[in-house]
């Protein structure tokens, strides 16, 4: 198992190198540059040259890339071209916010999806099943920017409720934090709930058909034991895979939702970085998100071994 984890972590290196080169190339190709953004209308060739020299943009592209990556491997992601603030601490503080949002969204999704998915599989083709399936399909199909905007408008117009404007951390002010985070978590969670519910239902139906479920019933098992101890545990593997992938992408921030709810998360930071052509910010964010994604997936793979004894990596 330890060897397996080490091997997986080593595999991260080529992944990250590939991503960093891709991001570097794309950042060069998009029109506009950071210096024009900084100088605005006051730019003169002299000022321009001074800034380019200051940011290291006067050097050849290959050298620019290697000087960045050389520092990055030591954990120094450089400073923002725009604000001069170091990128890494900023990523970390924003990651905490995105991670909190991701965890909340997952909890909401599970609370909705798992019981309904199980119920739906047990009452297959009943009225309950049909209703649950339609609602799940709606959850998956309604774009989250639409449901988010509608939710904000609904609360504002209908109940005259507005979420606090100034963000507060989870441990600074729990009440304010929850008021800010619950709505976007609900929006993200409901989309997730739709797909998790559908996966739970189909996975449960698949397992309930298995011989061993009939054999468990033939032993005289109460329904509760058959369903939860045997059927649900066996059907959880695809669910864990799906949830792992979703958490992985949520952790990296959700640009649209963070934008709509003005949450200073990783997604918002990345978006700002891109629009300002702020190369160290974009590169840092993208690599960080990639690492998180790979680590979450590794965690999921390790989790499999606890659920299913047939899976082992040694």
């Amino acid at each position: 198992m330890r060897d397996y984890i080490i091997r997986r972590l080593i595999m991260l290196i080529p992944i990250l190198l590939g991503i960093s080169i891709a991001i570097f190339v794309v950042m060069q190709l998009i029109p506009g540059d950071v210096v024009s953004g900084i100088l605005g209308i006051e730019q003169t060739p002299e000022l321009r040259a001074m800034w380019e020299k200051k940011l290291g943009l006067d050097k050849p592209l290959v050298e620019q890339y290697f000087s960045w990556i050389g520092k990055a491997v030591t954990g120094d992601f450089g400073e923002s071209f725009r604000t001069g603030a170091p990128v890494f601490p900023e990523i970390m503080s924003r990651f905490k916010i995105s991670a909190e949002l991701a965890v909340l969204a997952c909890i909401i999704a599970w609370i909705i999806a798992l019981p309904l998915g199980v119920l739906s599989s047990l009452k297959r083709n009943s009225v309950i099943d049909r209703i649950v399936r339609v609602v799940a399909l709606m959850g998956v199909s309604i774009p989250n920017f639409a449901s988010a905007t509608l939710l904000i408008l609904f609360l504002a117009k209908g109940f005259n409720y507005h979420t606090p404007v100034k963000y507060a951390g989870l441990f600074e002010n729990f009440g304010v934090n929850m008021q800010i985070m619950l709505l976007p978590a609900l929006v993200l969670g409901s989309v997730m709930a739709g797909s998790v519910m559908r996966m739970t239902r189909s996975s449960m139906l698949e397992v309930l058909r298995q011989d061993y479920i009939k054999a468990v019933r033939a032993k005289g098992a109460p329904e509760r034991v058959t369903i939860f101890r045997h059927a649900f545990k066996n059907s959880s593997i695809p669910i864990v895979t799906l949830v792992g992938m979703q958490i992985g992408s949520l952790m990296g921030g959700t640009v649209v939702i963070e934008q709509i709810f003005s949450i200073p998360g990783l997604g918002q930071y990345t978006l700002t970085g891109i629009s300002q052509r702020d190369f160290p910010v974009v590169q840092g964010c993208v690599l960080f998100i990639a690492v998180v994604y790979v680590l979450v997936n590794l965690l999921v793979d390790i989790l499999y071994t606890y659920i299913d004894p047939r899976i082992s990596y040694s």
Binding site: V216, E223, V225, R310
Partner: protein, 330 residues
């Protein structure tokens, strides 16, 4: 009640789209106490669903639409079709156990053998202690000739062979001393050498524990080796039923005769293998007369018009054929 299990007029149907389709048609069966009873027939003839119906394990959308299944339990006579969930759970695995065709998929892959054996005990004896259950499990594994019981208890199903798994299934089925064991093709998925061992084991355990066995199979060899009474199923009906010696020596129904001729034997290796022409008609596509008419070499016009009744051709030997009840010649 004289017998252990009495099935009367059992009718099982399923849904195909919106249409109700019959799978089993008014079957009567009596399973005596301390008897091994064979049910033989091709796939789709209704033998497995009969056993599943006894324990209320019919998969959706199959259901019993008519009939009664009376069982002489330890605490009095019970109508199994009218039991509530709790009462049925007490019967399953406690009074009546079942083993299945595919041992490889009949144990839950994510639990150890020990957990799955312990579960079988604790469903019926919720107060049994851990040590007590473990001892009982080890004892059962020894009874079914598992070579290293301790090690086997700690194993997961994927670490064991099909033969071992079927032994474990038998051990689980018998761990609460049931009075009836429904064995649904218990040897079909196993190697021939293992088949014989499993059959012998089941016979031995039946003798030791006074358990009745219902052996469901498509293999007449298995029947000949293990059973005392036999019912031959065809297209959702019983077509012939008799004592095993009587059935093999005075085979009455053309279908049973066909089955017997189709049995391969070493002596007959030189001749061409016999097959009954045609296939078993699936549920819902049965003929209105004798259901075997299309495949029968002795079929007459009457056979196509009218369904023969199950009649006694000699004492305790029932057959569903006009030709053997003297009606054709008369």
């Amino acid at each position: 009640m004289k017998d252990l299990l009495e099935i009367r007029n059992l009718k099982i149907t399923t849904l195909r789209g919106k249409e109700t389709v019959r799978l089993l048609d008014y079957v009567d069966l009596n399973i005596p106490k301390k008897c091994s009873f064979g049910i033989v027939g091709e796939s789709g003839c209704g033998k497995s669903i009969t056993a599943n119906a006894v324990l209320g394990l019919l998969p959706y959308p199959l259901r019993v639409s008519e009939g009664s299944i009376r069982y002489d339990s330890r605490d009095g006579e019970k109508e199994l079709l009218r039991l509530n969930k709790k009462e049925m759970q007490a019967v399953r695995g406690g009074e009546i156990s079942m083993i299945f065709q595919e041992p490889m998929t009949s144990l839950d892959p994510i639990f150890t053998v020990e957990k799955q054996m312990a579960e079988a005990v604790s469903f019926h004896h919720p107060n049994a202690g851990r040590g007590e259950i473990r001892e009982r499990s080890l004892e059962m594994l020894k009874k079914v000739n598992i070579p290293r019981p301790e090690q086997t208890l700690a194993s997961y199903p994927h670490q064991l062979s099909g033969g071992q798994l079927q032994r474990i299934m038998i051990a689980i089925a018998l761990i609460n001393n049931p009075r009836l064991l429904l064995a649904d093709e218990p040897t079909t998925a196993l190697d021939v050498t293992i088949q014989a061992q499993i059959l012998k084991l089941m016979n031995d355990l039946k003798e030791q524990n006074d358990t009745s066995i219902v052996m469901i199979t498509h293999d007449l060899g298995v029947i000949a080796e293990t059973c005392e009474e036999v019912a031959v199923f065809y297209a959702g009906q019983i077509v012939e039923q008799a004592n095993v010696v009587e059935l093999f020596s005075h085979t009455a129904h053309p279908y049973t005769q066909g089955l017997l001729r189709a049995v391969t034997s070493l002596g007959g290796a030189t001749r061409k293998l016999y097959t009954i022409p045609g296939i078993v008609p699936p549920g819902g596509q049965w003929l209105s007369g004798c259901r075997f008419a299309d495949r029968c070499s002795r079929c007459t016009e009457r056979c196509r018009q009218e369904m023969p009744a199950l009649k006694e051709v000699s004492p305790r030997h029932l057959c569903r054929c006009f030709q053997n009840s003297g009606e054709v010649d008369a």
